[in-house]
C-alpha cells in the first residue's frame, strides 16, 4: 500500500510531496474490497462529520466513484482536506473492525481522497441550492468552520457573506496544515469548489474588531456565524523570548505553506520546538524539510500526554526529530540579538501535579519555535459571553447574543481538527436555518 511519500521516494519528507501517495485505481479497488460494510459502523460514529463511510466505500467498489464523493461531501464539504489531514488513526480508522480482525484497518482516508480527487478532477458540482430564502447571513472567518457553515447555508437557500482577515480564505487548511499533507494548491481548489455552488461571497482582508464590528454585522444581516479560530498565541513567559531567533511555530508553518521566507531562517540551523501538539510536530518536521540542521522537540510532560498522536510522534522520529519530554522552558539564551541556546527545567509529577525539579538542562540552538497553543484573540467580541477562554455556545452552537452562532476552534467542541470545525459549521448552519425560519 501507499507508504510515506511513496515507495519510489526516499523516506525523507519534503514540502511539496504527498506524505501519503494517492491511491491508484488498483489500490482503491483492493482497499475498498476490504470494507465489510458494517451495520451501524463504528467508523461513522468515530467521524465528527458522520460520513457514511461503508456507503461511500461500497460506491467506490461498484464504480460509482463520483457518487462516493457526493456521499462524502454531503456530510463533510471539506472531505478532500480531511482525507489528507485527518488523524484517521485516532478517528475512523481506529474504529475499523478490521483492526480486530487483522490489525490493519481499511485505509478510509486514502479511499476518501481517491473518491474526492476523481470528482474534483472531473470538475463536477454535485449540489444544487434550494430556492432562495431572501435571508442574508454573515460568516466571520473563512476557515473550515466558516466555509462549511457558509456552504450549508447557501445550499439551504440563504445568501452568505464571508469575512476573512487574511489575504486568502481557507483558514488553517491554507495556512496551518503541514505542507506534505496539503501539497499543491488543494486548499484553494477546494475553496473554489465550495464557492462554485453560488450564494457565497468572500471578502478578504476584513478583520472583526478592526474593519467590521459584531454590532454592525448583527444590524446588516439576519444572522451571524463566528468561525474566527484562535488568532492569539500563547507565550512562554521566559526571558529571551524577544530574541531574533524566536518565532511562533504557526507563523513559520504559514510562511512555508505560502512558499514565503519564514520569520526566522531555518537553513543549517539548530532548532528547538517547544510544545507537544500536532503544531509542534508539524513545525519540527517542516523545519527539517526547510533545511534545519537538527531539530529537537521539548515537551513539559510525557509522551502519553502529548497532543500529537502516536502516529505523528512516530513520523517525527522517523524524520529525525529528537523528542524530549519532561522539559519546560525557563530561559532563552542569546547575545547580540541572536539565540544561542535554551535552558529547560526537568519536570515531574508530584501528587498529580506537574512540578519543576529544579534541575536544568541547556540545549544549544539557533532557533526556538513556540508551539504552546493558541487562544482567542480578544478583539471584536463585544457583548459575547465567554467560557474557559472560548466563545460560550449552547448545544445548538448559539452564543449569548440572539442570532449569533459560533463554531470551530473558537468554541470548545471536540478536537481542534479541521473535521471538527466542519462538523461545527454544518451544525451551526442547520441551527441558523431553523432560527431564520422560526
Amino acid at each position: 500500500m501507499s507508504g510515506v511519500n511513496g515507495a519510489a521516494h526516499s523516506n525523507q519528507l519534503s514540502l511539496d510531496r504527498d506524505l501519503v501517495s494517492p491511491f491508484t485505481a488498483l489500490q482503491a479497488m483492493a482497499e475498498s474490497s476490504r470494507c465489510l460494510y458494517c451495520y451501524e459502523a463504528a467508523c461513522v460514529t468515530a467521524c465528527p462529520t458522520a460520513i457514511d463511510i461503508p456507503g461511500f466505500i461500497r460506491k467506490i467498489g461498484t464504480g460509482n466513484v463520483k457518487g462516493a464523493a457526493r456521499t462524502i461531501l454531503d456530510a463533510n464539504i471539506m472531505g478532500g482536506t480531511c482525507a489528507r489531514a485527518c488523524p484517521t488513526e485516532v478517528l475512523c480508522e481506529q474504529a475499523c473492525v478490521r483492526n480486530k480482525a487483522e490489525a490493519e484497518p481499511v485505509l478510509i482516508g486514502g479511499l476518501q481522497r481517491y473518491a474526492t480527487d476523481v470528482l474534483f478532477k472531473a470538475g463536477v458540482q454535485p449540489f444544487t441550492r434550494q430556492a432562495p430564502t431572501g435571508k442574508h447571513v454573515a460568516v466571520v472567518g473563512g476557515g473550515p468552520a466558516g466555509l462549511a457553515c457558509a456552504h450549508r447555508l447557501a445550499l439551504l437557500g440563504h445568501e452568505v457573506a464571508v469575512y476573512e482577515a487574511r489575504a486568502k480564505a481557507g483558514g488553517l487548511n491554507e495556512y496551518g496544515l503541514a505542507a506534505y499533507k496539503m501539497v499543491d494548491d488543494f486548499a484553494q481548489r477546494e475553496l473554489d469548489f465550495i464557492l462554485s455552488l453560488g450564494g457565497i461571497t468572500v471578502k478578504t482582508g476584513v478583520a472583526l474588531g478592526r474593519d467590521v464590528t459584531l454590532a454592525q454585522l448583527r444590524q446588516d444581516f439576519d444572522a451571524v456565524f463566528l468561525g474566527i479560530g484562535l488568532a492569539g498565541i500563547n507565550t512562554l513567559g521566559v526571558a529571551g523570548e524577544d530574541l531574533a531567533g524566536v518565532a511562533d511555530a504557526v507563523d513559520v508553518i504559514a510562511a512555508l505553506r505560502q512558499r514565503a521566507a519564514p520569520p526566522v531562517s531555518l537553513t543549517g540551523r539548530r532548532v528547538v520546538v517547544i510544545g507537544g501538539g500536532n503544531t509542534a510536530v508539524d513545525a519540527a518536521i517542516q523545519s527539517l524539510c526547510a533545511g534545519a540542521a537538527e531539530v529537537t522537540m521539548a515537551y513539559r510532560r510525557g509522551m502519553a500526554e502529548m497532543g500529537a498522536t502516536g502516529h505523528e510522534q512516530d513520523l517525527a522520529r522517523t524524520q529525525g526529530v529528537v523528542l524530549r519530554t519532561w522539559l519546560a522552558p525557563r530561559e532563552i539564551l542569546g547575545g547580540g540579538g541572536a539565540v544561542s541556546g535554551i535552558v529547560l527545567e526537568r519536570m515531574a509529577m508530584n501528587a498529580g501535579r506537574l512540578v519543576g525539579t529544579g534541575e536544568t538542562v541547556t540545549i544549544p540552538c539557533d532557533v526556538v519555535l513556540k508551539a504552546v497553543g493558541q487562544k482567542l484573540a480578544p478583539g471584536g467580541l463585544d457583548g459575547l459571553a465567554l467560557a474557559g477562554g472560548r466563545i460560550q455556545v449552547d448545544e445548538t452552537l448559539a452564543t449569548s447574543l440572539p442570532g449569533v452562532y459560533a463554531g470551530g476552534d473558537c468554541i470548545k467542541s471536540g478536537e481542534d481538527l479541521t473535521v471538527q470545525s466542519v462538523a461545527d459549521g454544518k451544525a451551526a448552519a442547520f441551527a441558523i436555518d431553523a432560527y431564520l425560519k422560526a
Binding site: 479497488m29 483492493a30 474490497s33 465489510l36 451495520y39 451501524e40 459502523a41 473492525v97 478490521r98 480482525a101
Partner: protein, 428 residues
C-alpha cells in the same frame, strides 16, 4: 502418502486431475507443459472433420468479484481450429512420450454415423486412451447441428454413443450438457448407447455481461456478442447437483463419472470424488493461474486423505452419495441453532442486519464492554445458517444441533402434512 492413482472406464492416470477439453489442451506444446507440471491426464480439445473451424476474435467473458477474482468465465470459442492431421500427429507424439498419463480425445461431428465412426477410427491409432463425445458446446457448433444440439436430445445421445462404440475398441466417455431440464434423461441415454462413462458438466449457456457503453454482450465481436459457455467457480454447485443425481439414480448408479465444473482446488476435487467421480477435469482455474495449481491439488488431496486415513481414492469415492436424498427424506425433527463466539466477533453487525432485515429477527444487539454484543434469540432462530455465511470471521458463528429427543420424522409422515402417510393402525 495416500495413493492418488485412479482408473475410470479402464483409463488409468497417476492422479485424478485431468485438464478438460478446452483451449489449454489444444496443442502438444501446452499438454507437455501440463504433464511436466504434474497433471494426471488431459482431454484433448475437441477434434472435428476437416476443414477446421474458424474462430472469432475476442472469445472470453468473465464475472469478477469486487477484487477481480474470477467467479465465472465464459467463452464463445469453437472446437480446435487446427487441421485434423496435425492434432492426430501431436496426440500420438504426446502419448508416446507420456505413457503413464491419461490422454483422452474429445470429438464432435454432424449427426451421421459415417462422420462419428470415421473420426473415431482416425483417432484410435494415435494410441489415445479413450474418446470423449462432445455433446455439450452451447454456442456456435450447436447452430451447425453439433454439440448441445445433439446433447439436448436423449435419442441422439444414445444413437451417437452406439455408433462410436461400434466403431472403436476405445473406452467412450459421453460429455453431458447442463442445458437441459433433467440431466438423467441424457445420462440414461448415454448408458443405453453403451457409454463406458459420462463426464459433466459442459458449460452453461450464458451471457457473461453487457458492455454498457457498447450496449452489447461480452465478449464483444465488432459491436455484437453471442451467448457462450459458462464455467468457473460459479458453476460448481450446478455440477455437483447433476453429478449427484446421476450417482444416486437407480438406472445410472455405478456408471463411471468424470466430474467437471468449477474445480480449482483439491477440496473441490474431493467433493466431486465424494459424489462418486473417478476423475475430475479442470479448465478455468488453470486458465486463471496456469498449470502449476496442480501441485497443491495433488499435495492438498494427499494430505487430507492421510489425515482422514484414506489410503486410496476408492476409500472415499462415492461416500457422500447415500447422504444425498430427496427433500422428503429429510428429518423434520432435526433442529440446529446459531451460536456467536463473542471473543472472535469483530463487531461488524452483518449477522444482525441480515437476520433482522431478511430473516427471522433472531440476533439482538446488547451493549457489551467496548463493543456490541450479538446474541442469538434461540426461540426465533430457525437454524437457517444465513448469519454464519455472512460473518466475515471463520468459525465465529457456528451451528449447534439441539437435542430434541424426537425421532427421525419425514414430511410424508409429518402430522402437519395433509397428505401424510397414515401410520398403520394397531391390530384390534
Amino acid at each position: 502418502m495416500a495413493d492418488l492413482r485412479g482408473t475410470i472406464a479402464g483409463i488409468k492416470s497417476p492422479n485424478p486431475f485431468w485438464l478438460a477439453s478446452a483451449p489449454p489442451t489444444d496443442k502438444e506444446y501446452n499438454i507437455v507443459r501440463a504433464f511436466k507440471a504434474g497433471w494426471g491426464g488431459v482431454v484433448w480439445k475437441t477434434l472435428g472433420e476437416d476443414p477446421p473451424v474458424v474462430n472469432v476474435s475476442s472469445r472470453y467473458g468473465a464475472l469478477l468479484d469486487s477484487n477481480r477474482a474470477m467467479i465465472g468465465f465464459n467463452n464463445i470459442e469453437l472446437i480446435t481450429d487446427r487441421p485434423l492431421e496435425v492434432n492426430l500427429r501431436e496426440i500420438a507424439a504426446v502419448k508416446k512420450a507420456w505413457p503413464d498419463r491419461a490422454v483422452v480425445v474429445s470429438l464432435m461431428a454432424v449427426m451421421t454415423e459415417e462422420a462419428w465412426a470415421g473420426l473415431a477410427r482416425r483417432i484410435e491409432p494415435t494410441g489415445a486412451d479413450g474418446l470423449e463425445l462432445n455433446f455439450g458446446c452451447p454456442h456456435g457448433m450447436c447452430e451447425r447441428g453439433m454439440g448441445s444440439a445433439i446433447g439436448q436430445v436423449p435419442e441422439m445421445v444414445e444413437q451417437v454413443t452406439r455408433w462410436v462404440k461400434n466403431a472403436t475398441r476405445l473406452p467412450v466417455i459421453v460429455k453431458l450438457t447442463p442445458n437441459i431440464t433433467n440431466v438423467l434423461w441424457s445420462a440414461e441415454a448415454a448408458k443405453r448407447g453403451g457409454a463406458d462413462a459420462v463426464s459433466l458438466i459442459n458449460t452453461v449457456n450464458s451471457i457473461a455481461s453487457i458492455d454498457l457503453d457498447a450496449m452489447a454482450p461480452t465478449p464483444t465481436v465488432g459491436g455484437k456478442g453471442t451467448h457462450g459457455g459458462y464455467c468457473g467457480p460459479a458453476v460448481k454447485p450446478i455440477a455437483l447437483n447433476m453429478v449427484a443425481e446421476i450417482a444416486r439414480n437407480p438406472d445410472t448408479r455405478g456408471l463411471p463419472i468424470s466430474g467437471i465444473g468449477g474445480i480449482g482446488t483439491w477440496r473441490d476435487a474431493a467433493e466431486f470424488l465424494a459424489l462418486g467421480c473417478g476423475s475430475v477435469q479442470v479448465c478455468t482455474a488453470a486458465m486463471t493461474y496456469g498449470f502449476r495449481i496442480v501441485e497443491d491439488m495433488i499435495d492438498g488431496l494427499s494430505a487430507w486423505m492421510d489425515e482422514k486415513g484414506y489410503r486410496s481414492l476408492a476409500d472415499f469415492q462415492g461416500r457422500a452419495v447415500p447422504n444425498v436424498v430427496n427433500w422428503n427424506d429429510l428429518n423434520m425433527n432435526f433442529v440446529t441453532k446459531a451460536k456467536i463466539d463473542k471473543d472472535l466477533c469483530i463487531d461488524c453487525g452483518r449477522c444482525h442486519i441480515a437476520c433482522e432485515d431478511t430473516s427471522h429477527q433472531a440476533i439482538r444487539i446488547l451493549s457489551g464492554d467496548g463493543k456490541r454484543l450479538f446474541e442469538v434469540v434461540d426461540e426465533e432462530c430457525v437454524g437457517c445458517n444465513l448469519c454464519a455465511h455472512v460473518c466475515p470471521v471463520p468459525d465465529c458463528i457456528t451451528m449447534h444441533e439441539q437435542d430434541t429427543g424426537r425421532p427421525y420424522l419425514t414430511w410424508p409422515e409429518h402430522p402437519q402434512n395433509p397428505a401424510r402417510i397414515q401410520p398403520p393402525k394397531a391390530a384390534e
